[in-house]
């Protein structure tokens, strides 16, 4: 099966000023990431803040430009952001944000906003659009009598459902969700995630699910990619990653996920500073905090290599390079 | 810190350059000054001679450079009406205007700010309502109406104050009062709302909860914070002072640059108009610069940031 969307060696560099009078410091938010998503598949991207996962999500949609590398959607390169072609492509791919209140215009009813993509892309007649809005609202679990409500009159979960309904209005084949449930109560999180999964199956939508919360990702993703400081460190199917994580960073992350009924044991606690993209360590970016770090880790950046069928990881210890003396 | 001062200075210079260019463009775009000055039924040769005498027949950009050069050498041209250098005409009237504007500014500050602060501290009292009312009246009554009414009452009906000219210091009373009333109103209203906003801040409550005497809370905490927005407003008022002078001097026949401006505009005496325009612009830019710098010094947050 051909991948729906494919990213090749994406690089994104920000210029960050350190001080008012200082020199510009280039920050590599995304540093050479390649991945692909098949139609109907869900790829989870996990990492801490500063790992570049949000930036990666935006680059996949073509919202953020790439300084190097490219993105192919259905085999064709992504058009320049904000061009007419790019705008038309929005009907095929959408983004769901973390904060639904900020994503909605407080002066318009949610029915008007859910129907907006239909207006923008000129889909259907007036009656068709009204019918489609009703259909979408039902699909996300909103009551029809809420159609005339304004965003601030709804609860957080309802707002996010409205945002999702709007994202699905034009019938996209790809949905990129950037921390879509992190701002919601835990009980609502489960509902929204299940709803997303149902919608995905029913409409055969590919999804890229970005989150720092592993419990949620485990629930919904087919495959998982782990990011650290702008690079992928491990990738594989969701089950295998969670059951047998190989990369030391993934091991630390997975060991921190609580399993109901069991005490937390074998937790790997990382030492060292949390990742700062502006002050990237040399060699393997993870080496200051890695329990397996050796000499080569300080000097040479590991590449993402196949370590099993369907699994890749970037670690000298895993690929046997760690045998070199310090 | 140096960078802050330099950027402000640079902006001031750019503004002055923009004003000079603006004056030049408007001047040249407005039609042939010679024609205007001499009238429609003057023979063409006379017009040409006039234009040549005033250098109006050289290419535009040469005229611009000559213009800029002349400005910097203090030569603003000669008044087409009085045949005297424009700059002299203007400079000899500046003191008269200052005689009105400086006392007016002082009055505005001394009466407006305390009135506003007092009103803020005694909300809902008669004084508060009185101040608000006076403030509203102050800025809705245009200065020319105010001037005429004061003249009517004090010169005509009561006969206590003279109505025109600059002969004795008594002559300056009515114009100065006219100029200050509007500003007192605006300043009082603004000081009141600035003070109210500061007093509503949590840190004031904390201070008085700590047991600080009310007097010290007001003078030591509230006023210094309220001073910042008030200073900015005072900076803006300098501009309106000058504008006010134009109208007031015309009403009371006070021989200052405001009146000169109106007369020159009516007579299309462009050299004098230019000169006044540029001098006023320079004064405004300088005062804005001072306010900017003062603001940077007053606000400790800015001061701390600049110290790095």
């Amino acid at each position: 099966m051909k991948p729906l969307i494919e990213a090749r060696n994406l690089v994104r560099i920000y210029e960050m000023r350190k001080k008012l009078f200082g020199d510009a410091l280039p920050v590599r938010a995304v540093d050479g990431v390649s991945l692909s998503v098949l139609p109907g598949e869900t790829l989870g991207i996990v990492g801490e803040s500063g790992s570049g996962k949000s930036t990666l999500g935006r680059m996949l949609l073509g919202i953020d430009p790439a300084q190097a590398g490219d993105v192919l959607f259905e085999g064709r390169p992504m058009p320049t952001p904000h061009s007419a072609e790019w705008r038309a492509l929005r009907a095929r791919m959408q983004l769901v944000y973390q904060d639904p209140l900020a994503a909605l215009d407080r002066r318009l009813t949610i029915a008007a906003q859910i129907g907006e993509p239909l207006e923008i892309h000129r889909i259907g007649s007036r009656e068709d659009r009204a019918a489609r809005v009703r259909e979408l609202m039902a699909a996300v679990g909103l009551r029809l009598d809420q159609a005339g409500r304004y965003p601030h009159e709804l609860s957080g979960g309802q707002r996010q459902r409205a945002v999702i309904a709007r994202a699905l209005a034009a019938g996209p084949s790809l949905l990129v969700c950037d921390e879509p449930v992190s701002a919601l109560d835990v009980s609502i999180q489960a509902q929204v995630v299940n709803m997303l999964r149902d919608l995905q199956e029913k409409n055969d939508i590919a999804m890229v699910f970005i989150s720092h919360d592993l419990k949620v990702v485990r629930n919904i993703a087919d495959r998982v990619a782990v990011m650290y400081l702008g690079k992928l460190v491990e990738e594989g199917s969701s089950d295998t990653i969670f059951r047998t994580p190989h990369h030391p960073y993934t091991q630390a992350l997975v060991s921190s996920v609580p399993v109901p009924g069991k005490r937390l044991q074998g937790r790997v606690i990382l030492q060292g500073e949390p990742p700062n993209p502006a002050a990237r360590p040399s060699g393997c970016a993870f080496h200051p905090r890695c329990p397996l770090a050796s000499g080569i880790c300080r000097t040479k950046t590991p590449e993402l290599r196949r370590i099993e069928a369907g699994r890749t990881a970037a670690c000298h210890a895993l690929t046997g390079d760690g045998a070199m003396a310090a | 810190m140096v960078r802050f001062v330099l950027t402000r200075l640079l902006r001031a210079l750019i503004t002055i350059a923009a004003v000079v260019t603006f004056a030049f463009i408007v001047l040249r775009m407005s039609g042939d000054p010679a024609q205007v000055m001499l009238g429609p039924d003057v023979p063409q040769e006379a017009v040409e001679a006039f234009r040549h005498a005033w250098g109006l027949d050289r290419p535009l950009w040469i005229q611009y450079l000559a213009y800029v050069k002349s400005i910097f050498t203090g030569d603003f041209g000669v008044s087409m009406r009085d045949k005297a250098p424009a700059i002299d005409l203007v400079l000899e009237r500046v003191p008269a205007t200052l005689q009105l504007t400086i006392p007016a500014l002082i009055l505005k500050l001394l009466i407006g700010v305390p009135a506003g602060v007092y009103a803020a501290l005694h909300r809902q009292s008669f004084a508060d309502r009185g101040v608000i009312l006076m403030a509203i009246l102050g800025f809705t009554i245009p200065s020319f109406v105010m001037g005429l009414i004061l003249m009517l009452v004090f010169s005509v009906m009561l006969g206590v104050l003279p109505s025109g000219g600059q002969d004795t210091w008594m002559h300056g009373i009515l114009p100065t009062i006219t100029m200050s009333i509007g500003g007192i109103g605006i300043l009082a209203r603004f000081s009141r709302s600035a003070m109210i906003e500061v007093m509503g801040q949590p840190f004031i409550r904390t201070a008085s909860a700590k047991g600080v005497k009310w007097h010290d809370v007001v003078w030591g905490h509230a006023l210094p914070n309220a001073a910042i927005p008030i200073v900015t407003i005072v900076g803006f008022m300098v501009g309106s002072l000058i504008a006010g002078a134009v109208v007031v001097e015309s009403i009371f026949s006070w021989p200052g640059i405001g009146r000169l401006l109106v007369v020159s505009v009516t007579n299309r005496d462009l050299a004098v108009v230019q000169c006044i325009l540029l001098i006023i612009a320079a004064a405004m830019v300088v005062s804005n610069l001072i306010v900017d710098l003062l603001y940077g010094w007053l606000d400790p947050r800015l001061r701390a940031r600049l110290a790095h």
């Binding site: 705008r87 900020a102 215009d105 | 923009a18 108009v273 405004m284």
Partner: protein, 293 residues
């Protein structure tokens, strides 16, 4: 026990009374009076031709400087025997039209520039900010006098000139709100839906910005009236035979002692109008801005 249907046996008040009662609770008396005065002024301006008892240049040489209350001349006449009331009505129209036109021009111009600065950033933004600084640096009166000196005082020029008053305020507001709109996300998310920039601005940002802009307009409007009156008073604004409020005050100045009504009538109208708009504008601003106590 069936449903709690406690029927209210009082007669339901007529909807008009209910509306008025609600209005009286929400709107202070002064603001209400202000609105009434403004409505009256607009009505007068609109139907000036119908209301005017005489033409503005018609001279009744038999009754010059007649005091108010004279037969046929409710507000008296001036030194040329022209009816003050007629001239006042026409002046209201002229001054309001100029102020209204200028406010709209200035608001549209300023908002467009503000949006342009927010949308294109970079050089465009710097240019707009520099122009705004320049505008704020010079007192408007002085600048208008200079322009009028050079170009003369035609009506169209006057309206265009007044149209430059205060544009920088709208520009700053529009720019600030547009920038925070994109940062806030609702504008960014509509862009992400595939909307053209025009749609984003007209359908989303402008409605959200409109209330602040309208309040700004109510604050600039009276200032424009005062500015135009001042210029006309000095003889440099509206030129005869057209008449404006400031114009009338200027002409009435010479007869201050003998016939003060010539000056007082237009002066009173200026004051009441600017007062009304200021009151209404302040009230609107307090209503729309929940942070002001």
């Amino acid at each position: 026990m069936s449903s709690a249907d406690l029927t209210d046996t009082r007669p339901t008040p007529h909807p008009a009374f209910a509306f008025v009662a609600r209005l009286r609770r929400q709107v202070p008396l002064s603001v209400g009076l202000g609105v009434l005065w403004l409505a009256a002024m607009v009505l007068v301006a609109a139907s000036a031709d119908l209301l005017r008892p005489y033409g503005i240049t018609v001279m009744d040489l038999t009754s010059r400087l007649a005091p108010p209350g004279s037969p046929g001349h409710w507000l008296g006449t001036d030194e040329l025997g022209r009816d003050v009331l007629s001239r006042l009505i026409q002046s209201i129209r002229v001054s309001l039209v100029i102020a209204f036109g200028a406010t709209i021009i200035s608001a549209v111009f300023g908002t467009a520039l503000g949006f342009a600065a927010a949308q294109f950033r970079g050089v465009v933004e710097h240019l707009v900010l520099v122009l705004a600084d320049f505008q704020a640096a010079l007192p408007f009166l002085i600048m208008s006098l200079a322009v009028l000196a050079f170009f003369g005082s035609s009506m169209t020029l006057l309206v265009c000139l007044m149209g430059f008053y205060g544009w920088e305020r709208y520009a700053r507001i529009a720019r600030g709100l547009a920038i925070s709109a994109s940062a806030q996300g609702y504008a960014a998310s509509v862009v992400q839906l595939g909307a053209t920039p025009a749609r984003v601005y007209f359908r989303h940002i402008l409605p959200n910005v409109a209330s602040t802009l309208i309040v700004s307009m109510t604050l600039t409007f009276p200032e424009i009236i005062l500015m135009e009156s001042g210029l006309s008073f000095l003889g440099l604004g509206v030129q005869p035979p057209e008449t404006s409020l400031g114009n009338m005050v200027g002409f009435g100045r010479e007869y201050l002692t003998t016939a003060p009504w010539i000056m007082l009538a237009p002066a009173a109208v200026i004051m009441l109008t600017t007062l009304s708009i200021s009151l209404v504008g302040d009230w609107l601003r307090d209503k729309l801005d929940p942070t002001i106590r």
